[in-house]
């Protein structure tokens, strides 16, 4: 076996074994580049352009009234693309109660709209769900999910490197795409999406592994720190803990404190404000920088005295190693990316998703073509072809289902956020069953047609039943929400075109080299020998 042949085997199996998981990870990651926009769409009542000074003033008043004497307050300000300010507070722990007890979702939190008015927001994970699905998966313990995603990322890295060696002609055949020529079109599609965005694929896979490097390679931390807590304390400094002195003192004006922090960052923006022991002379304020400010994905905390508003410490200089790691995380998450670059991130990531999908389809196409009678493929090929329908076409359809659930489930329903997620997984399971139960050709058409209907229906529903439809968003000059609605229409059109393309597709009856039997197209759409 030559090097190229061994790499071909490695490429095929490293890609195929984790192909569906990789596709899920890639698609969820791709969608997550619009995390803030999706979150805004799922919580339309929060408005958009936040008046920071007004919001901070009202947040301070709200917390002072409703969470006086709490252990801590946290104010999460929206970024340029986000909406709504989230206030959370932790009450003083009672004697004997464990500090680390996790608060239940929804307890001690309040959303404020763009003008700082308290708003009741239906429980939803919004865009954060897709973001967490990307590296935590769902319905399995987070740690297992992250290990599995790390394994898939490693397989992806192997597939990329072995793929470059295997398809040695990809650089020679640059700018070549030959649609309509049997497996060539799948191969060219796979190669084109792989090669055109190769720097992105390498970067995103490698930096993806770096984001969780202390999980996958914990020995560096173990050798230098007595515990993981000590490591995180060093990596992410938290405000200096000062015991409550029980001497009441009003909290300093938060807007002025934030303005001072922004001056010290040299035109940075505040993202999160944490206040410990508010209302006491021992109060401390920690202001964390917005992650989208810089390519370095680090909070750059600045500490202030809560009662006087005087600067205490920060931002602390970071070590070279920490900055390198944070740059890699920043490159992976793309939080810093302005709108043009965000589109490039999205398109390259979409190319990666298409690369995985075409690779999965190509596997079946190649194997069928090598058979004496392609209509009688063995169970392995048939199963993979049918599962491909449910995974490749089914996942984006299920994601649209998640958004439908956000619109249809009663806003006061108990466990609403979990119901939205359940709806998505049920729809995905349905698509997988459709794929398994029908011949692949009919399966693709059915699932694509369903996706097209759901996406078009969502845009129509929003136009009729909500104030966030395409026309009203355009009239309000809300480009992000208009983009979301236009995106649904584009997705509907793409799915409709794909369904039409599959329905009209006539498989080639040309014989592979060395075969002399005449071929015809069967009813199932497969080339079979003439009897």
């Amino acid at each position: 076996m030559t090097l190229r042949q061994t790499q071909a085997v490695l490429h095929t199996w490293s890609g195929l074994l984790v192909g569906w998981a990789l596709y899920t990870i890639f698609l969820a990651g791709t969608v997550s580049f619009w995390r803030d926009e999706i979150s805004r769409w799922t919580r339309p009542m929060l408005g958009h352009q936040t008046d920071r000074a007004l919001v901070l003033d009202r947040a301070q008043t709200f917390l002072d009234t409703n969470a006086r004497g709490a252990k801590s307050w946290t104010i999460e300000l929206p970024g340029d693309r986000g909406a709504g300010t989230l206030l959370t507070w932790q009450p003083q722990s009672k004697a004997g109660e464990k500090q680390a007890r996790r608060r239940r979702r929804g307890d001690h939190e309040q959303w404020l709209d763009e003008r700082g008015r308290p708003v009741i927001v239906p429980e939803t994970r919004g865009g954060d769900f897709f973001y967490r699905l990307h590296f935590d998966l769902h319905y399995i313990p987070v740690l297992w999910g992250r290990w599995f995603v790390g394994f898939c990322a490693m397989m992806m890295l192997v597939a990329i490197v072995s793929g470059v060696i295997t398809h040695k002609k990809i650089f020679k055949d640059f700018f070549t795409f030959r649609p309509g020529t049997r497996q060539r079109n799948w191969l060219d599609g796979h190669n084109a999406t792989a090669v055109l965005a190769l720097p992105f694929h390498l970067m995103i896979t490698y930096t993806g592994l770096i984001t969780l490097m202390t999980l996958y390679m914990p020995w560096g931390v173990a050798a230098n720190y007595p515990s993981r807590e000590a490591f995180y304390k060093d990596l992410l400094p938290s405000p200096q803990v000062v015991g409550r002195l029980e001497k009441p003192a009003p909290l300093a004006n938060l807007d002025r404190v934030v303005a001072e922090a922004e001056r010290r960052w040299n035109r940075g923006h505040a993202g999160i404000i944490r206040i410990t022991e508010p209302g006491d002379t021992a109060a401390r304020i920690q202001v964390l920088r917005r992650l989208s400010d810089r390519i370095v994905d680090g909070g750059q905390a600045i500490g202030f005295d809560g009662a006087t508003g005087a600067w205490l410490k920060g931002p602390e200089p970071q070590s070279g190693g920490a900055v390198t790691r944070d740059v890699m995380i920043g490159l992976h998450a793309g939080r810093f990316a302005p709108m043009t670059m965000r589109w490039l991130y999205f398109l390259c990531s979409l190319a990666g998703t298409v690369m995985v999908a075409t690779g999965l389809v190509l596997w079946g196409v190649k194997r069928r073509e090598k058979l004496a009678n392609p209509a009688q493929a063995h169970i392995g090929i048939r199963l993979i072809e049918r599962f491909n329908v449910g995974f490749i076409a089914g996942l984006p359809v299920a994601m649209i289902g998640f958004l439908w659930a956000n619109r249809l489930i009663d806003s006061a329903a108990k466990g609403r956020a979990d119901l939205e997620i359940l709806a998505m997984f049920l729809l995905w399971a349905f698509c997988i069953l459709v794929g398994l139960g029908r011949p692949p050709r009919q399966g693709w058409i059915t699932v694509f047609a369903l996706g097209s209907l759901l996406a078009a229906g969502l845009a129509l529903f929003d136009q009729i039943a909500t104030p966030t439809g395409l026309v009203s968003s355009l009239m309000q000059r809300d480009i992000a929400m208009a983009g979301m609605e236009a995106g649904f229409i584009v997705v509907a059109l793409v799915f409709a075109l794909l369904a039409r393309k599959v329905a009209r597709h006539t498989p080639s009856t040309r014989l592979p080299r060395g075969r002399h039997t005449r071929m015809q197209v069967s009813k199932a759409g497969i080339a079979v020998p003439v009897e």
Binding site: G180, I295, M341, L344, L347, A351
Partner: protein, 92 residues
């Protein structure tokens, strides 16, 4: 500046593509004398370097160098689509 970076990137990649005889013949006709490969390579390198500079001027050094790869991907995708569908390859 970003648009300029994109155009320069596309020009650089087009020069690289023309080095391939198959693409050269399609773009300029089979009877046109083959352009000097060294000249094309030099032109490609200059255009790509200028594209990187424009990208870094537009987005700043750190973000511009990362975004430049994205611009090149987009430029290459555009060339590939033009090459495929202008030549009628899709119909064959």
């Amino acid at each position: 500046m970003i648009l300029l970076a994109f155009i320069l990137g596309a020009a650089g990649l087009a020069c690289l593509g023309l080095i391939n005889p198959k693409h050269h013949d399609w773009a300029l006709g089979p009877h046109v004398q083959t352009l000097d490969r060294k000249l094309l390579r030099g032109g490609a390198c200059s255009a790509l370097a200028a594209s990187l500079a424009a990208s870094m001027l537009g987005w700043g050094a750190a973000q511009g160098s990362a975004g430049w790869f994205g611009l090149l991907t987009l430029a290459a995708a555009m060339l590939l689509i033009l090459r495929t569908y202008l030549s009628g390859q899709a119909r064959r």
